[in-house]
Amino acid sequence: MLTDNAPKGDGKGAIVVVDYGMGNLRSVWQALVHVADGREVLVSADPAVVSAAERVVFPGQGAMPDCMREIEARGLRAAVLEAAGNKPFLGICIGQQMLFEHSEEGDVPGLGVFAGKVRRFPAERMLDAAGNRLKVPHMGWNQVRQVRGHPLWKGIANDQRFYFVHSYFVAPTDDACIVGSTDYGLPFTSAVARDNIFAIQCHPEKSALAGLAMLANFVVWKP
């Protein structure tokens, strides 16, 4: 609905951005079109289109309880889980958080693709190295430490800055899925990956050249 002029199609062979009515998908769509080198990029709320996609982008903004409710209301759960199981899959921001089992935000269950919880930045620990208070939401450009190598990091410097805006972060049960880490009052997991899934807390679509490089890596990724 925030992408009225995005093209429509059946999704076959396309990069499909999952639309469940939350947040500004237009930015994600625009940035993907910019790097897709002519490949079809669709925005769709139709489970059949998501199922037919070659690769899937799962974005998100706002509050996780609202996002989960909309996923269910639109009948998208099965299509999203199926895509996360078998095709190149990119989670962004709340789209990363929803892949976990449970969120402190609204005390809601997530999709459970990764074991672990989504936690809020703890107010009492939000101080920088000099003892200054850190604001929440964590908003702006922060560094992503590449904890493990991954094809989506190709051409992107370690500790590169990306644009973040969030108050919650993922805490995986199993460290093996952690590929990116960021410091804000405490070190938190900013990117996870497993098999065909890569998911990141920041917004590559708003992270200038570094973000476009990551999206360009995703559209050709063959996990």
């Binding site: 925030l2 908003m139 702006g140 973040f164 410091d183 708003k206």
Partner: protein, 253 residues
Amino acid sequence: MGLAKRIIPCLDVTAGRVVKGTNFVDLRDAGDPVEIARRYDEQGADEVTFLDITASSDQRDIILHIVEACAAQVFIPLTVGGGVRSVADVRRLLNAGADKVSMNTAAVENPDLVAEASAKVGNQCIVVAIDAKQSAPGVWQVFTHGGRRNTGIDAVAWARRVQQLGAGEILLTSMDRDGTRNGFDLPLTRAVSDAVDLPVIASGGVGNLEHLAAGIAEGRADAVLAASIFHFGEYTVRQAKAYLRERGIEVRL
């Protein structure tokens, strides 16, 4: 290592062009908004803000086309403000490609709008702009209608209130300093920044790079917004960042 302080060039837009004046008069044409936004992106701006200063409502839709064109070419956050009166206005701007929408007069007249918009689109999209003017030492009042109307509301109390209502960020402009090039109102900036947990963008009065550093170091702003020092080529955003880094402030370079 940690979160960088942001530099945000602000573009006043009317009739499809960027203009810059002093205290809303003597407007000078500064160029095409999309071209300027792209130049700032190339210089390393952390975000760009468009302020629609169009007086007549029949020209409002022009800003939507500018936002659309900008969003197709500039991949950093874009905030748009000016004349936002309803959730429908917020949606239209986000739909055109804005990442955040800033509201000022409408928020004061109808605080529920902040709560409603925030609930609908997420607080990360909602910026409340506060235009404040000093009324006594250490006391500032909120002005609306482009600085023409004194609401009598205490600016620090209003900042706390909009945080409760669900704002995601505060854009704080000193009416006393705006257009003077004498630097930010540092006591105002600090008072608001210390009063809320939200990020605060300092605005109004930047005349040189030292002012940007002071806004962050003394004003405790999370981001600094400036217009004229960048529009007319006095400094590039990159020069501003290099200066801040020399002063020990963490920036994205």
